[in-house]
Amino acid sequence: MTATMTSDYLSAALMILAGVGFALALTAAAKYLGPSRPSAAKDYPYECGSEVIGSPRARFEVKFYQVAIVFLVFDIETAFLYPWAIKYRELSCAGAVQGTTCTGGVSFFGIGEILVFMGILIVALAYVWRKRAVGWE
């Protein structure tokens, strides 16, 4: 049991290592191989060739913030769907699962669980819709 456990972690670790390593290698190559001559003119913000006017730190409309928050809620909702989808086969089978066949009868726990979860979020969506928090006008 433990051998398979470590090999799972090993492949995951290798995957992470390769990803991070590749990114680091590229940035290092760019830093050392490429010429770097920083200068004030080069760091000047690019505004289509004109001089900079105003500042991006102005106070924005609140609807941008609302859209971000509402998106966050429904994004996390979809994030929770993934583990449920993976485990759906076990959840909807009363007994244990051998390979792909379910020994016990059908259980509605899997479906019920997600319907309750989605139901709550549908109510939230309805509230947001009615309050036009996500409207663009």
Binding site: K31, Y32, L33, G34, P35, S36, R37, S39, A41, K42, Y44, Y46, C48, G49, S50, E51
Partner: protein
Amino acid sequence: MGFEFHTTSLQAAVNWARKWSLFQYPFVTACCGMEFMSVAASKYDIARFGAEFPRFSPRQADLLIIVGTITERQGPALRRIYDQMCEPKWVVAFGVCASTGGFYQNYGTMPGADQVVPVDVYIPGCPPRPEQVLDGLMLLQDRIQKGEGHSQITIAAERGYDVPIAAIRPKELKGP
């Protein structure tokens, strides 16, 4: 600045890669822009030289193509965009107005973009035929391969390499 190394074979390989993947910032202003469209379109296709992909931000471009007349009012914008590009960078003056101001010798027109930015290749013509533009691009690619671009020489001089063409521009190299 990092560890020192100097190998012509690597530099030649890097220059070869740069030569065939030029990302251009099309600084288009005037009539040459119409001929620039023809060069970019399907018949005279600049994509065969790997230089077709326009990048409208100086941060992601290494070839500044000045297409059309540069007026005095456009000068600061051109200089700012040239400064905002990262090395190594090259400049092509597309058309006689960008090279010398053409037949607009008056109070409003700058007599050539090299009054403001160092130009590597000048393409004559008003507007130049697409074949002339491709010829100019090939000329630029040779210079890149030999490392004779303005910014390439500056980098090489700063890194203390033997600058390949000291003879061509002795006056400039003696400067600070």
